[in-house]
Amino acid sequence: MDIIQVSQLTKVYQSGKGNPPLRAVDAIDFAVPEGEVFGFLGPNGAGKTTTIRMLTGLARPTAGKASVMRLDLASDVTRIKKQIGVVPETSNLYDELSAFDNLVFAMQLYGVPRAERKTRAEELLARFRLSEKRDTPFAKLSRGMKRALTIAAALAHRPPLIFLDEPTTGLDVMSARNLRQMIAGLQKEGVTVFLTTHYLEEAERLCNRIAIIVKGRIVALDTVENLKSAAQSKTVIEMTLADTNNQVETKRVEGESVETAARAALAQTEGRRVLAIDTLRPTLEDVFVKLTGLSAEVMLAEKGRGGGNAGG
């Protein structure tokens, strides 16, 4: 059963006098079934955040239709908001309130019964390893802790669907790793996750399916394995060779199939010893580069320059 359905969804921003309108999202279609971790990848300014903003009621679509939690986005946005959790790109809880009070306020806004609030807040603090920081103001938490608390606040009312916009951007390795484990844990609990990220490895590890968006249009949508298979037109074999002086060389040979590639590779040994032979599978990065024309490094560098672009 699809929990998100999007049909021809479009967002056009007026760019001001003399400038042409910006088509941030251009007639996209996709569906997300219940319980899936759905990855939304794309370079900076591709339309990822704009799509999330539309699906969560923060921006009005210019055209197209969408349903979230099987409710029409155009007519039922308040009921949709009750059933979703949103983690924006920037951790935006209240600096002056403690970790505990921020969680309680989130629950108050969403109508969690008074009797449950304290227990639920303590439970979330424990789960996100923040119990010791219960009474610490949000402003005084580390960046990783702020991120974890922002995710905890989005889960406070137990939403069955959560939108995570760049959840690990700017975090140290350990904090990012902890957060990835938490995201993986959400899926086990049956929560559907809509995830945007610039980290291809993260998407590959966490997502059941991935959509790649470029200049407002979805250019690919499939499982990671299928995307990789589609990107590989030829088989590539990598051989490590050593000559009589133990000089080591690595060679890559392409072929239409494993058999032809292997034959071609062996023909190129020129009497040297074969130390290792392996077939190479494309990575998600290869797929991404092929579809967007951008390398992962360029994308991350752009991200660093662009910061939290609303059109991103």
Binding site: L58, T78, K81, V86, N92, L93, Y94, D101, A106, G111
Partner: protein, 243 residues
């Protein structure tokens, strides 16, 4: 839906009070500032101090309700936490009403302190209590709506502070706090008639020392109208920020 809106409104106001308003410097400043202003005027023109009481109450309400209110939304917009409220399952009018609620509760609290002091000093024999409560509540609502309108009209906190002072300080001198509006030149009287503070001072004067009933009703009606118009404009502006 209505229950969600009422609940959201209440908790948004409560959160603002805890996060921004109920800090010792805000409370002491909210009480001392109007006293200092009125005292400065009284020293320069030591006339009937009792005549300055309605203006003192009105100034306390104006600054108590609008000072923080005028920057809260701009501040939350700047740091991104306003988006949390936009994502909550409450309507925009309820969200803004929550902001007004926070400003009003703070303004009313500091005004209550000032009111108790002046009633102890000058006595409460001639006070029309019903009119006083109505005048205070409607003034607080109008000034809080003014603060909210200022806060959504700009993007930066310093712009909000500048705009709030640009509106409030001339209003303080033209709104009948120190000089009765009737004694001003005609052109200034016309300007005074479009300022909510004028009606607040008149309604409070009528409640504290007596006045004509028709005028009182018109003053209260004007304060109600200011609240509705400023609130409507602020909601409209907030909707545009959202998109």
């Amino acid at each position: 839906m209505l229950a969600d809106d009422l609940r959201g409104m209440f908790y948004v106001g409560l959160k603002d009070l805890r996060a921004y308003y109920l800090k010792p410097p805000n409370i002491s400043w909210g009480i001392l500032f109007p006293f200092a202003f009125v005292l400065a005027f009284a020293i320069r023109n030591p006339t009937d101090l009792r005549a300055l009481v309605p203006g003192l109450i009105a100034l306390t309400l104006l600054f108590g309700t609008s000072s923080m209110e005028a920057i809260v939304i701009a501040f939350e917009q700047r740091i991104g936490s306003l988006e949390r409220l936009f994502l909550a399952p409450i309507s925009l009018p309820a969200l803004l009403a929550g902001k007004l609620f926070g400003g009003m509760v703070f303004g009313l609290t500091v005004t209550l302190v000032v009111l108790v002091i002046v009633l102890i000093v000058f006595g409460a024999a001639s006070v029309n209590w019903l009119l006083l409560v109505l005048a205070i509540l409607l003034s607080a609502a109008a000034f809080s709506a003014l603060g909210a309108f200022v806060s959504v009209a700009v993007k930066e906190v310093f712009e909000a502070q500048t705009l709030a002072n640009f509106i409030r300080f001339p209003m303080m001198f033209l709104g009948g706090v120190f000089v009765p509006v009737d004694s001003m030149p005609f052109a200034l009287q016309v300007i005074a008639r479009v300022l909510p503070l004028t009606y607040a001072v008149e309604a409070l004067r009528a409640a504290l020392v007596g006045g004509v009933q028709v005028d009182m009703a018109l003053d209260l009606l004007a304060l109600g109208l200011f609240t509705v118009v400023l609130f409507g404009l602020a909601v409209n502006r907030l909707a545009r920020i959202l998109d």
